[in-house]
């Protein structure tokens, strides 16, 4: 295991509402309450999705352990925010896992559905594009048509940020 100091600095400097990650004392309440840990981990916790392990390795700068293993290490998170609520140190775990997922995407990794959704949003400004059959159904139900979003404006925004280059 090699400490990647650049990665460690990114983690340490990262904060949304707080910088409390530094105060993690590895109590494991996050893993004990994680629904995905429950269905993927064996008795000893050596396999499967482990939020406590992710926080520890991120703090130590063990980038290889997080990114070279199975994608499940990062993408097993179902974003239920339960860990955020049970953490006695108020660490925003889900925001840190979001950062790890963003880094995974920068490496061109991650599940297919994330890319297909991002592509749909880039092309249609909606994660689920409008379809004639559904438009007819809306009419039958007496609903007004969905107000059409400005796709060009959204594409300009994403191109300026550079998000279009991350699409597959």
């Amino acid at each position: 295991m090699i400490t990647d100091f650049e990665f460690r600095k990114q983690i340490m400097d990262f904060h949304v509402g707080s910088d409390l990650i530094k105060y993690c004392y590895q109590c494991s309440r996050c893993a004990d309450n994680c629904p995905v840990t429950k269905v993927t981990t064996d008795f000893y916790g050596t396999t499967g999705y482990n939020p406590r392990g992710n926080i520890l390795q991120a703090l130590l700068g063990y980038k290889d352990m997080i990114f070279s293993a199975d994608d499940l290490v990062i993408w097993g998170c179902t974003v239920c925010d339960t860990c955020d609520e049970v953490c006695p140190q108020n660490i925003e775990l889900t925001e840190i896992f979001t950062l790890l997922k963003n880094m995974s995407i920068e490496q061109g990794r991650g599940p297919e559905f994330i890319y297909s959704q991002a592509k749909a949003i880039f092309e249609n400004a909606k994660a689920i594009p409008s379809q004639p059959a559904i438009e007819r159904r809306r009419e039958q139900l007496g609903l007004p048509a969905v107000a059409a979003p400005d796709v060009n404006e959204l594409q300009t925004l994403l191109k300026n940020i550079g998000a279009d280059k991350k699409l597959k």
Partner: protein
């Protein structure tokens, strides 16, 4: 009463519009006024946010700008949209550097995020108008046993959702109780439906979903009541896959909160397109005499 900008979201607007139909009926009966705006995807707090947090912030902030331009608060029909729009607002209001960077991008398309409006989930709006909800009930759903599933993003993270107790939510139960139905408690009420993880790892997602469904089945519930389209789809479309995989018969129909209220307010099942559900609820409707 103030008029809201209705944020129906991609899933309800472009895939399961019958939920929007039921919601509009309930808003009409309760006296909640809404109007449309050309919103884009919120975007998804489990998908786009995981793809790129900056893009998520920028697109979310642009949607907030559209409502700010009219000076109206947003009313969301979806947990995910409410979570994103409140989350974006939270991040930008608590980090001036981040706000400055996003505003530099927004300036190029002639917009500026100010943070002047509020984003409200429709469950909170109904809870704040509980008297009016009660007053609009004409056909109480007596005898119907309901297991409620508030979902994750309606109340978590509590820091910025500020909706309900994050681990012991009560609001959905209170509103369902007004319909005359009986709320049944079950152990796994706050467990995630697993929608996001099922998209990436179906095997693990279904294993989690089994825990949820077994708990609901044990409670003896006739229907499941939800307030999120992602959860709705997980319950409505993946119950059959789950039943096949584990050779168990679940077959518990799912109702959106506004569908359940519509029925209790005397709206016919046909008007709100209940037939478009995958899970069938014929026997439950017969039980209610509908």
């Amino acid at each position: 009463m103030t008029e809201y900008k209705l944020f129906e979201g991609c899933t309800i607007g472009n895939r399961i519009p019958f939920i929007e139909a039921a919601s509009r009926k309930v808003f009409e009966k309760v006296g909640i006024e809404t109007s449309q705006a050309p919103f884009t995807c919120c975007p998804d707090p489990t998908g786009m946010k995981s793809f790129d947090n900056n893009s998520w912030l920028a697109i979310g902030a642009r949607n907030l700008c559209l409502a700010e331009a009219e000076g109206k608060d947003i009313l969301s029909l979806c947990n995910g949209c409410a979570n994103t729009l409140r989350g974006v607002q939270h991040q930008l209001k608590h980090d001036s550097l981040k706000k400055q960077k996003i505003n530099e991008q927004l300036a190029k398309i002639g917009k500026e995020f100010k943070g002047t409006i509020n984003v409200k989930h429709f469950v909170d709006e109904l809870k704040d108008n509980l008297d009016k909800v009660r007053g609009a009930i004409t056909k109480p759903l007596s005898g119907l046993k309901v297991a409620v599933h508030p979902g994750c993003h309606y109340m978590r993270p509590a820091e910025w959702m500020e909706a309900d107790d994050p681990m012991r939510p009560e609001n959905l139960k209170k509103i369902v109780a007004e319909s005359g139905a009986t709320v049944v408690d079950y152990e796994e009420m706050v467990l995630c439906c697993g929608s996001a993880v099922t998209n990436a790892y179906e095997e693990h997602g279904l294993a989690n979903f089994k825990i949820k469904m077994d708990s609901i089945k044990n409670s003896g519930a006739d229907v499941i009541c939800v307030n999120c389209p992602a959860c709705f789809q997980q319950f409505d479309t993946r119950q059959r896959d789950l039943g096949k995989k584990y050779e168990t018969d679940y077959d518990i129909p799912v109702l959106y909160l506004t569908e359940l209220l519509s029925l209790a307010m005397g709206v016919s099942p046909d008007e709100i397109g209940l037939k478009f559900h995958r899970t069938r609820m014929k026997s439950q409707l017969e039980k209610l005499g509908l």
